[in-house]
Symmetry: C2
């Protein structure tokens, strides 16, 4: 077998079964190997920013990495923003980046670049395979690294791909076992939780499954501590039957206020909370100055075992957790706004839906109403690089073909990776997309004020830069141009009817929801 | 004035008058300054891959850099592929990349990344401004660096932007003077050219203006040398009245054959020619083994002075250059194919048009026919990273509002940065876009065969990966969705009528040309 076949076989032996790709000439032997080695689902994307977020969404829902196949430095560059998001969310990913043949690099052909240098800032692990005989071992190591909630990027020179590999493929290596949280840290946490001081347990940077949420709720109730997720959960179980958890607000001013009385902040996976951006005269750190912050667990550590230890140490196993009851909002009528759309979304959201949330300012309403909707998982943007939502929905739908995916998407963010719609159509994915089309970078209007620039009021040139009307984007036409059925809603009644129809049919649908801005 | 105002003023003082942007929160003070400092044309793009190629296209036509404004590491990542293209083409560019406030970086907020590391592989010069008082000087240095045919990337932390700058703005610093080509190299070249051996002068990596082309033709005729451009000229004057120059073919096999008898290859700006990709059993180097290669001039050296020196040394000033005569092909009828479209394009191409060429396989025909069209400039993809053409047309149109821009674009490449259409509509740019819609990555079908993978014949999974039909892309709908008038052509007659109408009216138009593949 050649290097490419060894690579593909090794990935499959290690349960990497999906490859999101946009290949080029240097990857043709990998592409050829797809027909020689059985079992890899290869999903073509029209732009690399689509495939990296698709791999992210897939991994969050499949709880194992997908692979990507990228074309040289520029292909990796196109994938960089969404790989950044995956890295910040500790989402496993195995990137395969084709390169020129090893002997060809010295000639500085037009597509030559320092791929390792481009990969390093967005990867936990970077390696260039330099021999066909080594590619199986290298690929197995990439998967092993990725399985520890990490982004692994492996460069595949063309001659490594096409050369004969006498060593064949590697067998399954199994993931690195998650490190146990040291008992000393658990003891510290227990001491704080039992101290009578005001405590908050905050989970983040890892999946908050239903079980984890319920365990947290029990622990919190047992010792009177608040329990919360971070601002942008990687994946969180919500709706009926999930634990009642707080969530740290996005706006630094509100976040600071929300935890100003917390004396002990105990972090499970989450990083110490900080302002998303810096603003003149707003502190960077969210926790109050005297607050004691304990990093109880890192994202790669064994979170489930930790929660068991806390349940046991605090004698909390039998405590009744606070559980979310079903409470569906009524449907609205009249003019469409984000509030009316949010009520309909919460009203009709199907059981076990996957809610991919990149609605930015519009999320304020949708997140509030869906808290008490039917049980679902929500995925959020973890690294702040917009253009993640639509392709993340692609990946989630491929990981969970039996579940409805609902992608809530801001108009501005949608335009970064709109090519995801084409893959939704091509793969006939069961996704309902709602575009909140307010014709603004609404978040930036809000942020302009918060930064205090020009007294908080944009002049005409600045205002023009924050507006994406003129011309208005017609998402119905854009979706249809990529083979996705689409409708436009300008009244609440239209939105209600269209959303109900979309979630009750299979396949990709898009609703262009014309709404005023929230702020 | 604050740092942002100092920066903007300094850019304007140094004749950087256009800023292609997609800003975020950390850039709000820069955005605010647009209304405080008069004179910067700010062009909003919906995706950073659009704005970097727009800056490239602008600089090629304006012969001076534009600035970009990018949002942190992911924004720069999105711009990376087209910045790579600019770097490979030695096109001046001043990138301003916003970053978190200097004091905020330590907290590792979600959008924190190593921006300098991301910038380095695609920049000639990288610098982070760390104080408001230094930003004027840093900006002037960035422009000075860029003016030397270089990509300069300057990081602008938010607090440097909003902080008071007691030093104000910098005055014009003027570009670094182009280095003179050493006389010893000129003497070597003249000796070779007069040796009676088979010589070729190849120009590349710099603009081939009409004057430069004619000078080269005179020099070649004076001493019997072949004269040629490289494969993908940065900018080249073509059509009626331009010099007759050869062009190195793209396919390595053809390129090798085309210069197999050349004994002395003398390079002006161009790099030693190499195969675009590596292929099993094809040499990387294009020049024959015994060929003597002289790097006569680097792209940053004074090419015009060099050509004067050669003209003088070879007594070639009075030699009549080989000049292209006007020869317009007739119009075709019947089924539309690339040949028929190419004849219509050459037939109707307006005087002084700017032909932005990213048609890939379809370029074979369009380039052939437009050789004898009315005088025009052609811009080509210099770094191999597709998704350059449509936004490069945006930049060219902004640089030259009196000239018609014709963008010839492959369907696959168009989908990388299709958001460029929206900026065309917003700015009412005079661009005619032709999409060669063959529903394939046709170049990859060709390349699959050339790599010899799987005997050169894709299996069904590979074939699916090379096809972008299913669903077919409807570029009429996609263009209309972004406010650009569009029509579809399926016959030669339809194409002829639509192209003639488009080039004879002002404003953006798109033609979705449904064509079979060329190969």
């Amino acid at each position: 077998m050649n290097g490419a076949e060894s690579l593909l076989t090794t990935l499959l032996n290690n349960e990497v079964e999906v490859c999101f790709t946009n290949p080029g000439t240097s990857e043709m032997h990998f592409v050829a190997a797809l027909d020689e080695v059985d079992g890899m689902r290869c999903v073509l994307c029209l732009f690399e920013g689509v495939l990296s977020a698709a791999a992210d969404g897939y991994a969050r829902m499949a709880r194992k990495p997908a692979s990507t196949l990228l074309h040289l430095g520029p292909g990796l560059g196109n994938a960089l923003a969404n790989t950044h998001n995956a890295k910040k969310g500790n989402v496993p990913m195995v990137n395969i980046v084709g390169d020129h043949a090893t002997y060809h690099l010295q000639y500085n052909a037009p597509l030559t670049s320092d791929i390792e240098a481009i990969a390093a800032p967005v990867s936990h692990w970077v390696h260039t395979s330099t021999a066909s005989g080594a590619i199986g071992r290298d690929a197995a190591e990439a998967v092993r690294q990725a399985a520890g909630h990490r982004v692994a990027t492996l460069m595949l020179p063309a001659d490594v791909s096409w050369g004969d590999n006498p060593n064949g493929a590697e067998a399954a290596v199994g993931p690195l076992p998650a490190a146990t949280v040291p008992q000393s840290r658990i003891d510290q946490a227990v001491e704080k939780l039992q101290s009578g001081a005001s405590c908050m347990l905050m989970i983040g940077g890892v999946e908050v499954s239903r079980e984890r949420g319920l365990a947290l709720s029990r622990i919190g109730k047992a010792c009177g501590a608040q329990v919360s997720s971070d601002t942008f959960p990687v994946r969180i179980a919500r709706g009926e039957g999930s634990a009642v958890l707080g969530r740290l607000p996005y706006l630094a001013e509100l976040a600071i206020d929300s935890i100003k009385d917390v004396e002990h902040l105990i972090l499970i996976g989450a990083l110490p909370p900080v302002s998303f951006f810096a603003y003149p005269n707003v502190p960077s750190e969210i926790a109050a100055e005297g607050c004691d912050v304990l990093q109880l667990a890192e994202p790669g550590e064994d979170i489930d075992q930790l929660l068991e230890s806390l349940l046991s140490a605090l004698d909390a196993q039998a405590v009744e957790p606070d559980v979310q009851a079903l409470d569906l909002p009524p449907l609205c009528s009249g003019a469409l706004d984000v509030n009316a759309a949010a009520q309909a979304i919460a009203h009709f959201l199907p059981q076990d839906a996957i809610l991919v949330d990149e609605a930015n300012t519009s999320s304020t309403f949708t997140s509030a109403y869906t808290t008490s909707a039917r049980a679902h998982d929500q995925l959020c943007l973890t690294g702040g690089a917009i253009g993640w939502g639509l392709p993340a929905a692609v990946g989630a739908a491929i990981a969970c073909p039996q579940r409805k995916v609902v992608a809530l998407e801001a108009d501005g963010s949608a335009m970064y990776t709109l090519q995801a719609l084409w893959t939704m159509a091509r793969e006939d994915l069961d996704i309902t997309v709602v575009i909140f089309n307010n014709r603004k970078y609404s978040i930036l209007e809000l942020e302009f004020g918060r930064t205090g620039a020009r007294g908080g009021t944009p002049g005409p040139k600045a205002a023009s830069t924050l507006s994406i009307g003129n011309p208005d984007l017609d998402f119905v036409a854009l979706a249809q141009g990529m083979g996705v059925s689409a409708t436009r809603a300008t009244t609440a009644e239209e939105f209600n009817t269209q959303f109900e129809a979309a979630v009750n049919s299979r396949g990709p649908r898009l609703i262009d929801a014309i709404v005023p801005t929230v702020f």
